[in-house]
């Protein structure tokens, strides 16, 4: 049976390895000990931010592959994305890696959308080893979407800090002892007329709420069935709004609701509302969540990555911010 946007994976592809790299500022994150590689230089010793961005993706992919004793030529697909114009960092890392590559863009929701694509390819029997993930680099993204990094603009408390991180996962057919992808929901682009690019959490919250509602209804589950329902990068402001929206639909909002953006820099006030960026959800999902699943703390989790689909041009032309949220359900059998 085909249901709109709802996917169920009968073969339950597994995430057998993850690779997460992060920049120097991410040492302030409580998750830092779980990251595979943390650079001391935000440009990774390279000339430009964009080169560093590509290098981060490359290293994350190499780490994710090396954990299953593979090399890039063993991988069938590379499904990654970032936020820079035309995703050049992903493209450059794909050139270096030499894996058949599809660039994906769902803004900050790319971590889940790429994971879903990898699961689909695996389910169809077309892939035995797919690398999926997303990345962002603070300097490269800031200069594109907002102001030059050194520009002294006052950010409101709702503003989020784009993380410098890349997170990728190696997806293979079902393997015992690893978290596996059982089902997913592709979100609808939602736009409730928010226009403030310094309050992206508020813009993304309705999309996350919508996708969660659809996932629960479509797959016939309850929020309490999950050990953890983690959203991508709503930040503190967006997370509050999202919980209210979800509460309004009659779902019991309990402690199993978490947000990667709000937790990424814990309560450090200099990061204002929290973290954002494609790398934020990818880095937390592929460390904290996967580790907890492997350790047996979490049996069943729902990951909802959210993305604001704006461009600097659409904002300057006075358009609203359309948002997207994709959900993927992982279980530990």
């Amino acid at each position: 049976m085909v249901a709109r946007g709802l996917l169920t994976f009968k073969t339950t592809p597994s995430i057998v390895a993850t690779g997460v790299t992060a920049g120097p500022l991410e040492k302030k994150s409580p998750f830092v000990s779980q990251f595979d590689k943390v650079y001391d230089d935000e440009r990774c010793g390279l000339k430009t931010n964009e080169h560093a961005h590509a290098k981060m993706i490359e290293d994350a992919c190499m780490i994710a592959l090396s954990k299953v004793d593979s090399i890039p030529s063993d991988a069938d697909f590379l499904l990654i994305g970032d936020l820079v114009n035309q995703m050049t960092p992903s493209n450059f890392s794909a050139t270096t890696l030499g894996i058949p590559y599809v660039g994906l863009f769902s803004a900050c929701a790319t971590s889940v959308s790429s994971l879903v694509m990898a699961a689909l390819l695996t389910e169809a029997g077309m892939s035995t080893c797919a690398v999926a993930g997303a990345a962002s680099q603070h300097n490269a993204i800031e200069r594109q979407f907002r102001y030059p990094v050194e520009y002294g603009a006052q950010k409101p408390e709702t503003a989020q800090w784009t993380v410098t991180a890349a997170g990728v996962a190696t997806v293979t057919p079902y393997k015992k002892g690893f978290p596996s992808i059982t089902c997913a929901t592709i979100g609808c682009a939602t736009d409730l007329g928010m226009t403030d690019p310094l309050n992206m959490g508020a813009a993304m919250a309705p999309a996350a709420a919508d996708t969660l509602t659809r996932h629960l209804a479509g797959h016939g589950t309850k929020a309490s069935d999950y050990d953890c329902i983690m959203t991508g990068d709503l930040g503190k402001t967006g997370f509050e709004l999202y919980k209210i929206l979800i509460g309004n639909t009659g779902v019991d909002v309990k402690e199993n609701f978490r947000d990667a953006g709000a937790e990424f820099y814990s309560d450090n006030p200099v990061f204002l509302s929290g973290a954002s960026g494609a790398g934020c959800s990818a880095a937390v999902f592929f460390t904290e969540i996967i580790e907890k699943m492997k350790a047996g703390d979490y049996k069943r989790v729902l990951l909802i990555a959210t993305g604001a689909l704006l461009s600097p041009m659409s904002f300057q032309q006075g358009d609203t911010i359309p948002c997207i949220a994709h959900a993927v359900e992982l279980t530990m059998k």
Binding site: N49, G152, E157, G193, M194, T237
Partner: protein, 151 residues
């Protein structure tokens, strides 16, 4: 949920802009920058042949120089986060806009990058400054011609 209701909910939930705090910090930051400017003007008046009026040019240039150092060493954005308009409105903020864009676009080369993007943020200020100067001077000249006002 429709757009209006959500906008309302968003207004209620999002943290309020601390207006009073922002205004006070803007006043203190802006005031301090101007006070430093006054000391520099005094310096130029005391040690060089500048009058109060002519000292403003080297003072402005010196303030932009300070702005360059603060921007280059990554301090101006911290002042900006604290002071808001207090650091954006003085000429140092204009300098910061030009200098930060120049540093940022260095990676695209000195001609296309630095040259082409230096006035990305500050260009609008120059445009409206020059245009409004033209309009104001034109209007005043015409009014003087018709004897409505005098210089």
């Amino acid at each position: 949920m429709d757009e209006k209701k959500y906008a309302q909910l968003e207004q209620q939930t999002s943290p309020k802009t601390p207006l009073l705090r922002n205004v006070i910090f803007a006043f203190l930051t802006g005031g301090t920058i101007c006070l430093i400017g006054q000391f520099i003007a005094l310096f130029y008046m005391t040690f060089f042949d500048f009058t109060e009026r002519t000292a403003s040019n080297p003072t402005v240039a010196t303030m932009v120089f300070f702005s360059m150092l603060l921007t280059g060493f990554g301090q101006y954005k911290k002042i900006g986060q604290l002071g808001g308009a207090g650091s954006a409105v003085p000429i140092t903020g204009f300098g910061n806009a030009v200098i930060s864009a120049a540093i940022e676009h260095k990676s695209e080369g000195y001609v296309l990058g630095v040259g082409g993007n230096m006035f990305k943020l500050a260009g609008a200020v120059i445009l409206f400054g020059v245009f409004s100067a033209f309009v104001v001077a034109l209007i005043k000249t015409i009014l003087v011609k018709f004897g409505v006002i005098s210089w």
